[in-house]
Point group: D2
Chain length 338, copies 4
């Protein structure tokens, strides 16, 4: 249940309400920024009778509350002027890791030329092995920011640990949370306290409800700019890196108001399948795509086999434009040019 | 390795070749209809030196051989004049089970009106519980056939057991093998001996190579009309019936020459997600779709929650037509009208 | 719901009862051999009021009925004098495939010397590839039978297809149904009509309730001698052949009265882990084990890496005897000697 | 490859060695505490020829290095006098969450009376929902410590976030890393810098090699006291909470020198199956068990259905003692009494 409070609710009344919930042994969360109280386990509104200051009560029958579409019908917001999660296709592209200034500048120039608005790139990399390349760190962030500013792009980059929050927050426009951190509840709670949009990737074996509960961790902190990102799940077939759960896209849209994008680069793990799965995700309803591209994929220091060449990415963008009439959503760029 | 024999190979030479393989302890399969010998474990061509009557040797480095695209680039064939597996979208629709003459006739009329060429319907149903409705049997087959003939449709129906092969072969145009039978090797071997096209569904937790090996069981018997059908795999999320592996479509096309269609009805298990997953499968490259529709889904005796209404199916067909320019493949019907 | 009929129920009354169920649109199964009617969907006993000839009504709230322990507390039976499924450890051992008379005779002699009562061996083999060794067929069955008779052993061998039922029934003492056939409902239904005990392996990705429903297919035909066999499930780790679900053993015993044995050879896929998983399965409550052994594992024509040597198997049997005081169940042999 | 350096290696030589590796573009890790360099990708020893100061080179052909049993045969260490990972059964028991002083004191008294040496209890709880009880925090830690000190027990408690490291380190004797944090590489790296033993749970869908690489993150920081804990993996069966991978125990012991214990409480998710899976894990070779017990399970604030009663735990301990002769390992307590 979500209890919307009146704007001018008196401190005393609020205190009384909270006391009442506590007495009834109901766990709840007060989201000050949105002036609401979330109390999932109240099954009976009558507990609240006699309390002033309540604007509206929204009953929600799922464990996740703030991410549920029983609460809200749609979420969209602007990132430096570009609309995210609305009736546009948000395209995010760039290398797995920041490797050099040259690599990032050539990527930024390429993206800009193609009307792309969001550049991805990892400065700190989660690596299964402690002996693998872990990214350029702060130097990488600085390169990303400079190139993005020069070419008027937004930076999407991953936050791996709370200790890096200030740094990542300073240099990025959208903060990416990787699948390994989807259940890092301390990190999620802290992200609720900032303003920056968060792209929350699905955990490797996360159920849809667990994913939406993870989103609730951020939303219940007060940050309402959450984008979900489907990136493939772990299945029984060792012949594939991940199994892209395309159906999760319309299913999430049936359950939630949050925008959802697809990452077919991780979802398939092989560059040659990124094109068909990109198109599939979009016609299935995705609000956007995040795609790994590299000026010279074979020289990529990480995930080399899943990065597209610039040339292949351009073909993909052309194919996406061909789909626009069918799916009724333009790519960001198209919109900006209009 | 696939050894293509000369058309006029002498019986003696053939005998000599087989003896040689046996002596070298190489398992092999002689496919008389195609005049080839399949011997996957020969690693060294030199074994064959000095043997006459060999037209060509094709080295294939996967465990599956005849389904590999190292053997052939593309497979298509006609089913009563309609091209399957070519640059067309083959649409197959109909109810989960044949329930009554009325139901099948109204379905056939509807399909015909919409230019659909293939009607599905189960006369014998695989049911997890021995106490559930198991279909009308032979009566169901007769209804399907009569209605299909009247409306010039092709019948696609499931064969569950070898004991029913003659019956199903007589009444159907394409024989469907369900996911539970993908590893029923005796059944597959028998299907190699008939002429009718076989639609082979992927097993619930079958790897791609296992699926193609199952196809090889049919192909190595001499029947070269095999259509694969992705119908969702079993995953860890109890909130979904199956996980539709859309990426399997381009991956299979990368490995094999066989046509592959998608069954988003079983793949998602919920009617409302059939539309987006149908479109997704097609833009990912599927050669067609098999979709459950019912004149009155709520009254369906099996799989009620996954059957589309006729009205929703018409909308889907319209949306598919909108995609035709992007994917460069017309629906069967469109082609027939031209 | 299971309706136990009176022994002397009149044909007319029985007819009346069936008509009543049909009118109420309740699917049911009449198991003549046990003089019961199984009707899972009757939720209200009152439907039956006024019907004579009913001895007892047992309400069962699971989809599976006859395999439920709400119906029966325990199942055990004799196989040529050896008790199966009682408070004994039934040990079954032998090669994956029958390869030669010499191999089977040396196995039989070894088993007999160690007091083992059940010999396994595959005459017809399910192989993922159509190009692999598929067993000696009828010749293999004859070898098994002869060796078993000479050494007073019982034969456990797999039935792969209905067409082989008579053959396998004639030569075996327990018929094994492999995991690929767990959902072959036609085959299961036929097994309900014979007397021979059936060992039903769990499907590669079968849920416990699906497995018990498969057992119900056999039981509802009238054959009440069903043994379940856990043989590992498919999971996400390509580094293991299967994941042995040891917990399924006590879970099944909590749900069902059927005996359950473990097959750690397939369950782990590697000979060196068969020993610990055998012990683990027994202390978890398994009624027995089926283990692959081979006089010379390296020369085994199938599953070479999972067969134990005779020497290692002897050590395992000694270790099992050490556990007897803790688990309170003797191995068959011990009992026979007493 | 692990390069053991000579104790008196000169700074210059060390510098030269590192430079050489860098020039050869080999990622490496210098573990100062153990005076070794780990360089997994050197395939050719000859790179090192001409370098002084090398004691020994150990070639390791797995991606994980320091956790491999190619490096070391066995790991054991003392925790306040009790041997962990040696030929003893380490038993850890206690509630899921610290709820009250009374609860913890009654648990501590009970454990002490039964000769148990390790008490578990969660002060900070990872909860899938942001609206669930998250533990008593620091107050909980203080209660645990006080009770443990009074009854001479060791405290095992979970660290959820780096921000709590100092706190948890101060109040615990073994730090538990939960399955959701198995891939939290920043956290793991920091744990390498402390002295306290770390119990690293397997991720919900982690492959064995990924788990050992996670251990390598800790080990390569210099902390060599790592205990692995199998706690069940996610599978396709919604009827079970997790699938306990008992085979992982001997498999890990075949790959690694690290001690491995089992957590059948999470592994099965149901109290009634904890007993059989505890015994199964031990005969499969586990070095110990971690089990949830609660003075009054029904009143437990978290994971109520998986906590054993004290009475049931006592029965389990008795049954474990019966196994001691078979498995040749005494419980901690037995040893202490000797």
């Amino acid at each position: 249940m979500i209890i919307e409070l009146q704007q001018n609710i008196k401190p005393d009344t609020l205190h009384q309400l909270k006391a009442l919930l506590t007495i009834n042994q109901v766990a709840f969360s007060h989201v000050e920024k949105q002036n609401i109280i979330v109390a999932p386990k109240i099954s009976n509104k009558s507990v609240l009778s006699g309390i002033d200051g309540i604007e509206k009560v929204i009953e929600i029958d799922t464990p996740y509350q703030l991410s549920s579409n029983q609460y809200k019908k749609e979420t969209h917001f602007l990132v430096n002027g570009t609309s995210v999660g609305n009736n546009f296709i948000n395209l995010i592209a760039g290398p797995c890791s920041v490797e050099s200034e040259e690599q990032i500048y050539s990527t930024a120039e390429f993206l800009s030329k193609n009307g792309i608005k969001f550049m991805r790139g990892g400065a700190y990399k989660p690596r299964t092995s402690p002996y693998a390349f872990r990214g350029l760190g702060l130097d990488g962030l600085k390169i990303l920011r400079k190139a993005a500013d020069e070419y008027k792009l937004n930076v999407v980059t991953e936050l791996m640990d709370l200790s890096l929050l200030d740094q990542i927050n300073e240099y990025s426009d959208i903060i990416q949370i990787g699948s390994r951190n989807m259940s890092n509840f301390y990190l999620l709670a802290e992200l609720g306290k900032i303003e920056k949009p968060i792209m929350l990737k699905r955990g490797m074996s996360a159920r849809l409800s667990e994913w939406l509960l993870a989103a609730d961790y951020i939303l219940s902190g007060g940050n309402d700019k959450v984008i979900l990102c489907e990136r493939g799940i772990r299945s029984f077939d060792p012949e594939v890196r991940n199994t892209m759960d395309v159906a999760a896209i319309p299913m999430i849209q049936d359950l939630s108001h949050l925008p959802i994008i697809a990452d077919p680069s991780h979802g398939t793990g092989m560059a040659k399948f990124v094109h068909p799965l990109s198109l599939a995700s979009l016609v299935a309803g995705a609000n956007g795509l995040m795609i790994e591209i590299h000026p010279d994929p074979k020289k990529s220091l990480s995930d080399a086999q899943q990065a597209m060449t610039f040339a292949d990415f351009e073909i993909l963008v052309q194919e996406i434009r061909k789909l626009e009439p069918a799916i009724n959503k333009p790519i960001d760029a198209t919109y900006e040019e209009a």
